[in-house]
């Protein structure tokens, strides 16, 4: 418990809409430890993105407790505890790649010299050294998403929250980026929350897989992965991998049958 970075207890979130209340999250209990790589998987409407947004302080839960680094999510946001990567890279077209990565640093008031040093470091981290002066439209979709990850890493938050960051990319690029992301996680020792709807992606990346289901959005299974932290791509053909993937699939199916 001492290592808990993110802790949710009996978390509820109900949206009031014109068609009546929508239970986006109901009774969500979860503890994420430091250095965990946690994937949230489930069909659309299961609340996986909503939960991530709650952690980020972008949504306010209507019940229960949620702490991030021991603080409320809003305090954690103000303390700049996390970097957030959206599904769309969302780079500003009028800024160069370097300029985009500098954006949070400018807002947070880092010195010019510090900014330059950090931009250089994170660009190397995501394998984009030399692209600092390019504009987003000059980069492929995968490179743009890497730049947006670099942007989230630039100010050294301990937590990285990623909302289907590779959802719009083709499978080959996605495999490559998954591999890169694991390396980056090993090097930076960050705690990562990762939303996806791909079973292989979730199993390949995570130390902990959270299976969710919709109406109301809730957790149906939490799987602690027995896979080693060092994971080559072909680990996906091992029996252990297939067994975990099977359990995730079962969890997803169970969630659906309860409808």
């Amino acid at each position: 418990m001492t290592d808990a970075v993110i802790s949710a207890q009996h978390l509820d979130l109900t949206f009031q809409t014109g068609d009546g209340p929508v239970h986006a999250l109901r009774d969500v209990n979860l503890t994420i430890d430091k250095g965990d790589f946690v994937s949230f998987i489930g069909p659309s409407g299961c609340g996986k993105t909503t939960f991530l947004r709650c952690i980020a302080g972008l949504e306010t839960p209507t019940g229960g407790d949620l702490t991030v680094n021991g603080m409320t999510p809003d305090e954690a946001r103000k303390a700049r505890a996390y970097g957030y990567v959206f599904q769309a890279a969302g780079l500003y077209p009028w800024r160069t790649i370097g300029g985009n990565i500098r954006l949070p640093l400018e807002i947070m008031g880092f010195s010019k010299a510090d900014q330059a040093e950090r931009v250089k470091r994170v660009l190397e981290l995501v394998d984009l050294a030399g692209f600092e002066k390019k504009y987003p439209w000059q980069l492929s979709g995968g490179m743009q998403q890497r730049a947006s990850i670099a942007r989230a890493l630039a100010f050294d938050a301990d937590i990285l929250l990623m909302d289907e960051p590779f959802g719009a990319l083709d499978e080959i690029v996605r495999d490559h980026l998954n591999e890169e992301l694991l390396k980056l996680w090993a090097r930076t020792e960050k705690t990562i929350g990762f939303v996806t709807h791909s079973i292989p992606e979730a199993v390949y990346l995570s130390t902990k897989i959270v299976v969710m289901s919709p109406r109301p959005g809730r957790i149906t299974d939490v799987i602690d992965s027995p896979l080693p932290r060092e994971r080559p791509l072909d680990i996906r053909d091992t029996p252990e991998f297939i067994a975990i993937a099977h359990r995730v699939r079962e969890g997803l199916r169970a969630g659906h049958q309860e409808d």
Binding site: Y92, E106, I107, M108
Partner: protein
């Protein structure tokens, strides 16, 4: 460029052709009166009957006497070449040989079009700058405050429904009574017309960033001013330029309308003077100068837009 030249020329030639044809019925009464004075027999001979007859009928009955249709001194509708001559005389000839021209006096002639176009241009630019600044400020306020949107936007819309020709004299009188005259009242009218497209365009532009871009700023705990400077304003630049092109043309109209009642120089004063003295070709020359000025201004904004967007990396 080669492909567009043909169609462009065709349209110009068609306009000129229609114009020359229109000169005949428009000017037929004056042409026939002049022909009668020279001893020709026109039908009908009675001037009163002629006054009540239709223009087309007069043309058809007097086909032999229409030679002067394109060379009348004070035509109702001067022919294009007459306007061209007027333009040439009031610009190049006036400046080169006129007593008050730039060659003989060292300053632009106040009887020449260039001088008056210059007056209008400065009032337009000043009004445009005021209007654009005001428009941007209002848009920033409207985007940030619901109260401001509810309280200001209806007035901005109402302001544009009042005919400017009705309002312009009042603005001038009111400003004169507080000691403001000369260029400023014209600039105020011109700002009055140009702020509106800027407000509308900028409100749309400042709101153009999508929710995830705003969320991203929120995750950085960015202040409202940081969101404005680093996200909303850069995102609104393409919208701003679209508005500026409309705004500068509106500014020019405002400046000209502001010159009508004052008669202290400018293309508007020139137009009104022309109509007082029946100098139609002077009116047309001033109109064409105004159109040329508008084209030049809109083109300048376009050039500035291309440069700015290229520098911003978004092309």
């Amino acid at each position: 460029m080669k492909g567009t030249l043909g169609p462009v020329l065709t349209v110009i030639l068609a306009i000129l052709a229609i114009w020359y044809v229109a000169c005949v019925p428009m000017n037929v009464r004056e042409v026939l009166s002049a022909a009668e004075r020279d001893g020709a027999v026109v039908t009908p001979t009675d001037p009163v009957e002629r006054r009540d007859a239709g223009a087309v009928g007069l043309v058809l009955n007097n086909t032999a006497h229409l030679g002067a249709s394109w060379s009348l001194d004070r035509a109702k509708l001067p022919a294009p070449h007459q306007i061209a001559v007027e333009l040439w005389n009031t610009t190049v000839v006036e400046e080169m040989t006129g007593r008050r021209g730039i060659v003989n006096s060292g300053s632009l002639s106040n009887r020449g079009l260039v001088y008056h176009a210059g007056i209008t241009l400065w009032a337009t630019v000043l009004g445009f700058v005021i209007g654009t600044g005001l428009g941007i400020l209002l848009a920033v306020g409207i985007v940030h405050s619901r109260t401001m949107e509810m309280s200001v936007m209806p007035w901005a819309i109402v302001s544009q429904t009042i005919p400017i020709v009705a309002l312009a004299p009042m603005i001038i009188v009111v400003l004169y009574s507080v000691g403001l005259q000369g260029m400023l009242p014209k600039a105020v009218i011109s700002a009055y017309l140009s702020f509106f497209p800027v407000v509308v365009g900028m409100v749309k532009g400042l709101r153009s960033p999508d929710q995830s871009q705003l969320d991203l700023m929120h995750t950085y705990n960015a202040s409202k001013s940081a969101v404005l400077v680093k996200l909303r304003l850069p995102a609104s630049v393409p919208y701003l330029f679209a508005s500026l092109k409309i705004g500068i043309a509106a500014s020019l109209v405002g400046a000209i309308v502001g010159e009508l009642p004052v008669q202290q120089g400018g293309l508007g004063a020139r137009m009104l003077a022309g109509s007082y003295y029946g100098q139609t070709s002077q009116i047309w020359a001033a109109l064409i100068a105004a159109a040329a000025l508008a084209a030049l201004l809109v083109w300048s904004i376009g050039a500035l837009e291309r440069r700015t967007l290229r520098r911003m990396g978004v092309v």
